[in-house]
Symmetry: none
DNA sequence: CATGAATGAGGCTTCATTCAT
DNA sequence: GATGAATGAAGCCTCATTCAT
C-alpha cells in the first residue's frame, strides 16, 4: 500500500515535465542542465530522480507526450465533417502550432527531438513511432480524399500522406527560425497548389 | 613547415571540415568531442584551433558549406529547361538528398543545424540566411510556374514557395528517421496532388 | 549528506581556503592548479566548485581574508596604550609577519596579490580596499602621534601614514626574498631614524 | 665571422625586450602569451626563440635590465653633493618611479618580479641580487648620514638602509594600485618623520 | 520519502616551444 | 637566418548522477 496516492505521484511527474518543458524550450536539451530543471520545478535532485531515472528519460517522456498531443490535434482537424480541404486542415494545424510556438512552447521541442533521433537509438525509436502514428492519421485523410473523388481511384494514399505530412516540419522550421510566415501564408500556398474542393482546379 | 601556400591552408581547413562532418554526422554536434575531430582529422588540437577558433566555428562553417551546396542542387534542378514539373524537381532534389544521407553524409547535419538554430543566436543567423536563400530559389520557380500558366496570374508565389520548400524537411526527416520512403514515393505523392503538366488534372 | 548545518558549510569553505593557501603559498597562484587544490583539500572538483565559482573566486576570498587578518594585527599593535613608538609598533607587526611567513604561510600570498592587482581589475578592487583600510589604521596612529606631541601640530598625518605603512611591503619582500633581516633589524633602523619617545632625538 | 653584426643582434634583442616590456606591463607575465610578444615585436616565433631560449629567459633579462636602471637612478639621487636629505632623495626617486609607471611603464614589472621571485628559484636569484645591490647603495647613503652627524656614531647603517629602502615598494604599490599618492605626499611624510637637515627636529 | 552535498570523468581550449621548409 | 604551422600536455570548469542523512 503506497504511502502517497497514485494521483500525487502523477502530479509530481507532471510538475517535473512541465518544468523540463520550459527549460528545454528555452535552452535546448543539451544546454539545459538538470540543475535548471531542479530549479524550475522547485524540487530537489533526489526528488526528480525518484520519478525519472535519467535526463534522457525526461526527454523521452516529454517528447512522447508532446507528440501525442500534436497527433491529437491533427486527428481532430482531419476528422472533421464534412471532409475539409487540405488547405483547411493545414490551416487549423498550423494555427495550433503557432499557438504553441511561444518562447517556452512545446513546439520548440520538435526540432530538438528530430535531431536527437538521428543520434540516439532510444530517441530514434519513439520519434519514429510518433511520426508513423501521425502519418497514419494522414493516410486516413488521403483515403477520404480518394473516396470523395478528389484523388484518382488508384491514387497511392500512402505517398500522398508522406507528401502532405512533410509540409509540417517545413512550416515549423520556417515559423520558428525565420518567423515571417503565418498559417494563412502556408494555407494560401497550399490552396494555390492544391485547389481541391475549391471553385477552380489547377491547370484546368 | 611555414610559408606554405594558400592552397595548403585551404586544404587543411577542408581536411578539418571533412573530419568534423564525419564525426557530426555519426554522433551529432554535442556527442562528438573535439578529441573525436582531432583523431578523425589526424591533426593535433593546436593545429585544428589554428584554423577554427572554436567548435561552434567549425559547426558554423560546416553548416553553411552544406547548406550552400544544397542550395546549388536546388537551383540546378529548378532552373532546368523546359520548366520541370514540381514532381520532377522534387524527385531530383530528393535523389540528391538520399545520395548524401548515408551514415556519414552531410544531410544528417541538417536537423542538427535546425535544432541548434533554435537555441544559439549565431546559428539562428546563418540557418535563417540559408533558408531564405533557398526559398528565394523556389520563389523563382513559382514565378516560372505562373508564367507557364500552371498557377493563376494572381497567385501568391511567395506563399507557394513557402509551401513547396516545406516539403523537403519532411522528406529528410522521414527518410533519415523512418527510412521507408524514397524520392519516388514522395514524387508519386506530389504528382498525385499537383499534377501540373501531367496528362490529367486533380479534381478534374 | 544533505541538510547539513550552516557550520558544516562554513567548515568546508574554510577547508578549501586552507588547502588553497598552502598551494598558493608554495607555488603561487598561477603555478598551482585546481587539481593541486583538490588534492590538498581532499575534495573533488565538483565539491570545491560548489563553494567557489572559480579559481579567481578562491584567490579573492583568500586574499581578502588574509588582508583582514593583517589589518587586525596592525590595529591591535597600534591601538596599544600607552602610545607605542613607531619602532615598537613596527616590531610587533614585523614579528607577526615573520611568524606567518613560513614556506606555507599566508604572508607569501601578499606579493602575489599585489602583482595580480596590477593586471586583474577585480583584484585591483579588493587589494585597493584592503590597502586603504590598513592605511586608515595608520592614519589613526599618526593622529595619536601628533596628539602626543611627537609630530608638529600642523603635520600631514595622511602623508605620515603613507610613508610608514610603506615600510611593510619592503620588509616583507626583504624577509621573503633575501631572508636576512629580522623584525629587530627593521626596528633598529626605524628607531635610529625615528627616535620618538626615545631618550635621544635625531639631529639633536 | 658572423653573418650579421654584433650590433644587429643586440638591436634585435632589445627590440624583443621592448615588445615584451609593453606586453608584460599591460597584462602581466602570465597573461601575456608569447604570441603577444611576437605580434608586438613584429617578429616570428622562430626569430624570438633565436635570441631567447624561453619566456622565462625574456622575463629574466627584462627584470634584470629594469632593476639595473632603477639602481642607477637610486645611485644618482643618493650620490648628489652636498649630502641630500632623505626626503630629497626619496622625492627624486619617487618622481622617477612615477615617470616610469605609465600603463606600459617598466615599474609595473616590479611587483610581478617580486611575486615571481617567491615561486621561481631562478627569479629568486636575480631579484635577490638586484635588491642586495640596491641596498648596497642605501648603505653607502646611511654611512654618509652618519658621517654628516645625522645619525649617531654607533648607528647600525645596515639596519637604516633596510628601513629606508623598504619605503620604495610601499610607494610603488600605493601609486600603482591606489593611484592617489604623489612623490610629494611621500616626501612630506618622510620629512615630517625624518627632519634631518631640516630647520626643526622631531621630538625636539 | 526528500534532501542536496559530493563525485569525477570528460569537455573545450590555450600556449610555450620546435623544426621542416 | 627566418618563418609559422604544428604539437600535445595541461588547465579550468560542468554536469548527470548517487547516497548518506
Amino acid at each position: 500500500m503506497p504511502r502517497v496516492s497514485e494521483e500525487h505521484l502523477e502530479r509530481r511527474r507532471q510538475q517535473i515535465l512541465d518544468a523540463a518543458r520550459l527549460c528545454f524550450a528555452r535552452k535546448g536539451f543539451h544546454d539545459s542542465s538538470m540543475q535548471d530543471v531542479f530549479a524550475e520545478s522547485g524540487l530537489s535532485a533526489g526528488a526528480v530522480y525518484r520519478y525519472f531515472k535519467s535526463k534522457d528519460d525526461i526527454i523521452a517522456a516529454l517528447a512522447t507526450q508532446t507528440m501525442i498531443e500534436l497527433r491529437g490535434t491533427m486527428a481532430e482537424a482531419i476528422n472533421a465533417e464534412p471532409l475539409p480541404t487540405p488547405a483547411e486542415v493545414i490551416t487549423l494545424i498550423a494555427r495550433n502550432i503557432v499557438a504553441r510556438s511561444g518562447p517556452e512552447g512545446p513546439v520548440r521541442l520538435a526540432p530538438q527531438a528530430w535531431s536527437l533521433a538521428l543520434v540516439n537509438p532510444e530517441a530514434t525509436g519513439y520519434v519514429r513511432e510518433a511520426i508513423l502514428a501521425m502519418r497514419g492519421v494522414w493516410e486516413d485523410y488521403a483515403e477520404r480524399m480518394r473516396a470523395a473523388g478528389w484523388l484518382p481511384a488508384d491514387a497511392d494514399t500512402h505517398a500522398v500522406a508522406v507528401a502532405i505530412i512533410g509540409l509540417l516540419p517545413g512550416f515549423i522550421l520556417q515559423h520558428l527560425i525565420i518567423g515571417d510566415i503565418t498559417p494563412e501564408t502556408l494555407a494560401r500556398g497550399v490552396r494555390t497548389l492544391l485547389p481541391y474542393g475549391e471553385p477552380a482546379v489547377p491547370g484546368g
